[in-house]
Assembly symmetry: C2
DNA sequence: CGTTATCTTGAGCAGTGTCAAACTCAGTGG
DNA sequence: CCACTGAGTTTGACACTGCTCAAGATAACG
């Protein structure tokens, strides 16, 4: 049993409800709906397998329970850009329109599990039965858009160092809001190669920047973990700020 | 009267209905709702004035009637990234949640007019009265997300030449779908400086790439116009493909 | 018709990419 | 238990894309 807790792909399965509850206070019916989604049997995805394919129909909405995935786009010559990192508690294929096609491929970066969450899709359009949950879901969509905009800012106008710093701040913030970063240490299952595809740099350069950050005592990375030692320094050099999408406190 | 037609900021005011009708067949009630939005008195925005401010509340949803605007993010030292170009027919502040805050600043790049389109916001959550219009609106939101992903791909993994080529293909596609690019010529009111902030390059470099494209006979730019002379070449080098967000034909 | 913004060009340089090789380390199978 | 393997990381040398600075040429605009 100790070994189960120690397994690197272990994730508490409440990431989804943790995130949504942090966006809006939920009532008990809403909480138990989320629980039932979280306790449902999962579908497992092997490393490098696809959860969604660009241009292909989205069968039904899924919620990531454990593991990390990446939304990616490809170019013909093999160049690859990670659009967004998908963490436990994120929802895939949440589209308000009919017969949606995926706008990007989603690949499992680690062993990944996801559950059917098709109720959430319906909630987007008609939240009359679960008003707070509907609101939380919409806020989460707005947050996700905020993160897309941040990715554009990073890639377009920040230096290599700033991009990585900004990404790490964002990952920490997102993991914390799902209770997945105990004691300030977060799992970091991405290889430097994948990291490079996120921040639009070469592997070699990513490696050099990480060395630099380590030398400065700002972070500790390796063995699947990331510890941010000087968060203020990172936040300052990246000009990171967390998403604010509504004027309500929740 | 000839001079009115010749003015560079002249735009037919049906861009919104042209775009939405291209996404889904609308019935007459829906069409006339759009007409009434389009014929409403406009609010004018001077060059460089703000339609929305990052972090500030979004008063109400607006539809751009004429002129071009840019969604931008800023860094403290003055660096600026254009997240997206906002064209006539685009809708601003379309958020499904309560009391939304803007996730980016929107600045008028040319003289711009916009009308109050708050009905559309309500339609996002409850489209029972205007089902096709609701569907069209949701499709337009999905398309907009597709364009954001394209922007990420461009900035992260494409060369300077490819970025500009891709952007031009996208602009042409968007303008055509609103009936704003007669005879294959589109208005191009962006300065090279703004263009640089879109594609994440320096002005000087943008200028050089434009020279190159002109020399190759691929485009003609200047005096506020863009003519794409060899669209196949542009599409091929940029690997451009138009958004496909639903399996329905409309 | 001056004035200012925008565009253009050149020269030199910085940041990041490429290539290639060595090193680490977790698995794997003998 | 140990050698082997292969993915991932690290390092160095060098190339190149795109940036900066600065000045001049055009075009827009009042």
């Amino acid at each position: 049993l100790m070994s189960i807790l120690a397994r690197s792909d272990f994730q508490p399965r409440q990431a989804l409800s943790a995130r949504l509850a942090s966006l809006k206070v939920l009532d008990s019916a809403e909480t138990s709906l989320l629980r039932s989604i979280e306790e449902r049997p999962v579908h497992s995805y092997r490393v490098n397998s696809r959860l969604l394919t660009e241009g292909a129909p989205i069968g039904f909405t899924q919620a990531l329970m454990s593991g990390w995935a990446c939304r990616v786009r490809h170019l013909a010559d093999g160049r690859r850009q990670v659009i967004a990192i998908v963490l436990p508690g994120d929802v895939l294929g949440l589209c308000p329109h009919e017969r949606p096609l995926s706008t990007a491929t989603v690949t499992a970066t680690t062993l990944t599990t996801a559950t059917d969450a098709r109720e959430l899709s319906a909630l987007l359009n008609d939240a009359s039965d679960f008003p707070n949950l509907g609101a939380a879901l919409r806020l989460s969509v707005a947050e996700d858009e905020h993160y897309l905009l941040s990715q554009i800012m990073r890639l377009g106008r920040q230096s290599a160092y700033e991009r990585i710093a900004h990404l790490f701040c964002e990952l920490k913030y997102r993991m914390v809001s799902r209770d997945l970063a105990p004691a300030g240490v977060l799992p970091m299952p991405l290889t430097q190669e994948t990291l490079a595809d996120v921040v639009g740099l070469s592997v070699v350069h990513v490696n050099r920047i990480l060395q630099q950050m380590r030398a400065e005592g700002v972070i500790e990375v390796g063995r699947g973990r990331l510890r941010i030692q000087d968060e203020q320094a990172l936040i300052a050099s990246a000009e990171f700020s967390p998403p604010k999408v509504t004027a309500y406190k929740s």
